[in-house]
């Protein structure tokens, strides 16, 4: 932003493209547009899409993915990744179920213990990555297996399912007067918290700096390791919250709960425009991507597209998510090169 002062402000304003053109060029906008188009087209062509019940089920399915995608976005912006989240969900479910089985009957206690467990599991990842300086990809592949294994140690082949009906019904209860589950409000509140953290605080800005160049950030006074450590703790806690929701939503704590969920989360974050190399992306795009993937999946299911074809669609979208933002960026850069006056400024600020 230091280059701002080098350019006459009046001239910059004149040369800057109109807002609508900026919007068209942004990946966030493309995703939201795609979401709207898919919703409109699917509602018009596929029976059942767009009904209240469609949105209810969509939200129920998206909640665990979105809960974990919030901290995962921040983690990936710093250039790291956490693949152990689904196993953290599974282990939290198992411990929660086992505690209930052993006679812990207070819901607040169960929830607090679960969140603490999740934070602890995240802290284990954080210690390996920041204290021992190991790559997060390797560490979290390890804990992916480790946490899932521990879940089987805790619960074995049992399923704990005899929770009070009030708990399981409340987990999916709608907001009065609608059919949308109330838990979406929890998600919205957390999205605001993470949004403020990312967009409106120095910490948020430092995440992009870390992702772009961790060494330079360290020299600039950012506590890179401490920031990363707490991000992994937050990811663990959010995965645990997803685990609590999962357990009561399905009324079933099993060691294999949420197997493979990490891929759905990472897919949404990448499709949301967050660069796997760090330094780029944001929460708006990620939440739009969670919704887009959910709508596509549920609509195609309603259109009786077989399960195998569905995985092909998801896979293709993942590839697109890696290629797409890059193509958009390249196109934008090329367009800018035609306006040499602003080139230097635009490059540094994008």
């Amino acid at each position: 932003m230091a280059t701002d002062t080098l350019v006459d402000p009046a001239r910059t304003a004149e040369a800057a493209p109109p807002a609508w053109r900026r919007l068209l060029g942004s990946w966030d906008a493309i995703l939201i547009l795609a979401l709207l188009v898919v919703v409109l087209v699917a509602s018009a062509t596929i029976e059942g899409v767009g009904s209240p019940r469609f949105y209810r089920f969509l939200v129920l399915e998206a909640i665990p993915i979105a809960l974990i995608a919030l901290p995962m976005t921040l983690v990936i912006i710093t250039g790291e990744i956490d693949l152990s989240v689904a196993s953290t969900v599974g282990l939290t479910c198992s411990v929660l179920g086992q505690l209930w089985y052993l006679g812990v009957t207070s819901l607040p206690v169960l929830i607090v213990l679960s969140l603490l467990l999740g934070a602890m599991l995240g802290a284990v990842n954080g210690v390996f990555i920041t204290v021992f300086g190991l790559p997060s990809l390797a560490v979290t592949i390890g804990t992916l297996a480790l946490y899932r294994g521990l879940a089987y140690v805790v619960l074995g082949d049992r399923a704990i399912a005899d929770y009070p009906q009030a708990w399981t019904q409340n987990a999916v209860a709608p907001i009065p007067g609608t059919v949308i589950p109330w838990f979406v409000l929890v998600l919205a509140a957390l999205a605001v918290v993470f949004g403020v953290l990312l967009y409106a605080t120095p910490i948020g800005r430092s995440l992009y700096a870390i992702g772009n160049n961790a060494d330079a950030s360290t020299f600039a006074g950012v506590s890179v390791l401490r920031t990363k450590f707490w991000l992994f703790v937050a990811t663990g806690a959010m995965a645990a919250l997803a685990g609590v929701f999962w357990t009561f939503r399905f009324a079933s704590a099993r060691a294999d709960n949420a197997t493979g969920l990490e891929l759905a989360v990472v897919a949404a974050v990448l499709l949301g425009g967050v660069s796997i190399f760090g330094g780029r992306g944001g929460l708006v795009g990620v939440l739009a991507a969670v919704a887009l993937l959910g709508v596509l999946r549920n609509s195609l299911q309603l259109a009786d597209v077989p399960a195998n074809a569905l995985t092909i669609v998801t896979g293709t979208l993942l590839i697109l998510s890696v290629v797409g933002p890059n193509v958009v960026r390249m196109t934008r850069d090329r367009l800018r090169r035609r306006r040499p006056l602003t080139t230097a400024l635009e490059r540094t600020s994008s």
């Binding site: 807002a19 900026r22 919007l23 009904s51 019940r53 209810r56 099993r254 708006v284 549920n298 195998n308």
Partner: protein
């Protein structure tokens, strides 16, 4: 600044979408109850939408039960047949398909449950939306469905499995192991428990169960588990695999190994998958009901429910096409019959 503006606009659009979604009105779909009792003299309605939701799609067992049993039955009573489901046998994946069916207004959902509890909530919502729910192969909690079509009693299966392995291993007995499907499959666990009870009987005193392993109904995993059993237990004399995927994978492993003919294998398998292993001597005999008959009976049970002929109460009777008359037992259970034994002398009479 322009970037921030973009974000603000994008956020606003997203918020608008969220509001549109949130403003959706209360659902109006309520179930139409067939009344207090069944109407045994009634006939099956035409045009019923009957959908099979197996544990997973592309599973030969369920393709036989659904496409070769359920489909002809649905065509007989002039309904609309469909099969749908997840590609992996997971309960949460099944839930999203149940939700899809309740949105599509399906009249009859015929499901093999991956977890007796996890699918309950969504099945209850489907019933509230007017669907009749029949479980087959693997039941849910009784209150979550209208009827359960039981392929065979668990006792019958456990008895037949132990008799087959005992006959194959011979009078000297020895160590045996069980290769199951997923660790939480309702039916598998019930059978395994009953097999253990059966093992305690004096006639099986020389058989010793040393391990139960899980192949998750995946061919490769089952293959590796069978391999693992033999390397871990060198004195193993027999394997029981009460799942079609597991028994075929174990047979493929044994038939290509030095254990062929020395380690006995039996289980629940389909004739087409097991034919070559019965003929090459890897497997002497195995058991199963006819899955096509199971799907056929499930389709008729669902249709009878949707037409008000039965309501799920004990003692109600209905006719299931070529299979004849059936009576509902306790907890809405319909029993297909006893397991059937396949061996070298009869296997060529079957094709499924």
């Amino acid at each position: 600044m322009t970037i921030r503006r973009t974000r603000v606009v994008a956020t606003a659009v997203l918020a608008a979408v969220a509001l549109t979604l949130g403003a959706c009105a209360e659902d109006t779909g309520t179930g139409t109850d067939a009344g207090s009792g069944g109407n045994p003299s009634g006939t099956i309605k035409e045009g019923l939408k009957v959908t099979f939701l197996p544990k997973q799609v592309n599973n030969p067992y369920f393709d036989t039960s659904d496409n070769q049993g359920g489909k002809p039955a649905v065509e007989e009573f002039k309904g609309q047949y469909a099969q749908t489901g997840p590609s992996e046998a997971s309960p949460s994946a099944q839930v999203s398909y149940i939700n899809t069916l309740s949105q599509q207004g399906t009249d009859v959902i015929i499901i093999a449950a991956n977890d007796q509890d996890a699918v309950c909530g969504s099945l209850t919502e489907a019933k509230a939306a007017g669907a009749k729910v029949v479980t087959y192969d693997s039941d849910t909690k009784p209150e979550c469905r209208d009827a359960f079509v039981n392929q065979a009693t668990s006792e019958g299966i456990a008895q037949s499995q132990l008799k087959l392995i005992s006959d194959a291993v011979g009078p000297e007995g020895g160590e045996i192991a069980i290769l199951s499907a997923t660790a939480n499959a309702t039916n598998q666990n019930a059978w395994i428990e009953l097999m253990k009870t059966e093992l305690a009987k004096p006639e099986y005193s020389k058989l010793k169960l040393v391990a139960t392993v899980y192949g998750d109904d995946q061919d490769e995993k089952s293959f590796q588990e069978a391999q693992g059993l033999l390397s871990k237990y060198p004195n193993l004399k027999g394997i029981i695999s009460p799942t079609t995927v597991g028994v075929a994978a174990a047979a493929r492993y044994l038939s290509g190994s030095s254990y062929k003919g020395k380690v006995q294998l039996t289980g629940l398998g389909t004739p087409n998958q097991m034919r070559e292993y019965v003929k090459d001597g890897t497997v002497k005999a195995f058991a199963l009901w006819n899955p096509a008959d199971l799907g056929y009976l499930a389709a008729y049970t669902g249709a009878a429910l949707a037409s008000g002929i039965i309501t799920g109460k004990e003692g109600e009777k209905f006719t299931a096409g070529k299979l004849g008359e059936f009576t509902l037992g306790a907890n809405g259970e319909v029993l297909l019959g006893d397991p059937f034994e396949f061996n070298a002398s009869n296997i060529d009479q079957f094709n499924f």
